[in-house]
């Protein structure tokens, strides 16, 4: 299952994958992912995939397992550390971005996600 706030990801994969689209922020995606992990879903991609800092891009897509299992310890550690890392950044930078940049960020997020889906 893909959790994303990136319309580009949604429109591209909505027919092929189970997608949870959030009309929200990067952090909202992380928090939703965390809640799912707490429910027993396994994290399949790293939530901080890409080295673009959380205060630069507004978009994030994360893949978790389709099936709920036992609580996955590694998934919990990774998502909680990711949220902690996210919260270290000053988010003012995001306010400065324009439409063109938003499109670029959507594309980068898509290609990073694609690098996982293709395998």
């Amino acid at each position: 299952m893909i959790i994303t706030n990136n319309e580009l990801v949604y429109s591209k994969y909505k027919d092929d994958y189970d997608i949870l689209f959030l009309d929200g922020t990067y952090r909202d995606v992380l928090v939703k992912t965390r809640d799912k992990v707490h429910e027993g879903y396994e994290l399949l991609t790293h939530p901080l995939s890409s080295s673009i800092k959380p205060n630069e891009t507004p978009y994030k897509s994360v893949i978790i397992s389709d099936i709920k299992g036992n609580l996955n310890y590694n998934s919990v550690i990774i998502i909680e550390n990711s949220i902690m890392t996210f919260d270290k950044f000053n988010l003012n930078k995001i306010k400065n971005i324009n439409e063109k940049m938003k499109e670029d960020f959507k594309l980068i997020d898509l290609t990073v996600l694609k690098s996982a889906l293709n395998i």
């Binding site: 809640d35 707490h38 429910e39 027993g40 609580l71 310890y73 919990v76 550690i77």
Partner: protein, 77 residues
């Protein structure tokens, strides 16, 4: 946190869902719980059943407090 309580001389039982974290933070008496958002409950069950689970886990916690340990110990039963 658990370490500071232990350091102060009070026996402490850590009831938590992710045992490896509890081991990392240095708890000595550990009782594993149900789930992160509801460690001592389970919303899928009726209130009575939930209370039973809670009683079982807390009975286990009391047992842990009454048990001498020399190293980190997880009380599964």
């Amino acid at each position: 946190m658990v370490k500071e309580i232990e350091r102060a001389g009070i026996p402490v039982v850590h009831m938590c869902t992710i045992v490896p974290i509890s081991l990392t933070v240095g708890a000595n008496r550990i009782v594993p719980t149900i789930a992160i958002p509801h460690p001592l409950g389970n919303p899928a069950l009726s209130l009575e059943e939930e209370r039973d689970i809670r009683r079982t886990l807390l009975t286990r916690a009391l047992k842990a407090l009454e048990t001498e340990v020399t190293e980190q110990t997880v009380f599964e039963k």
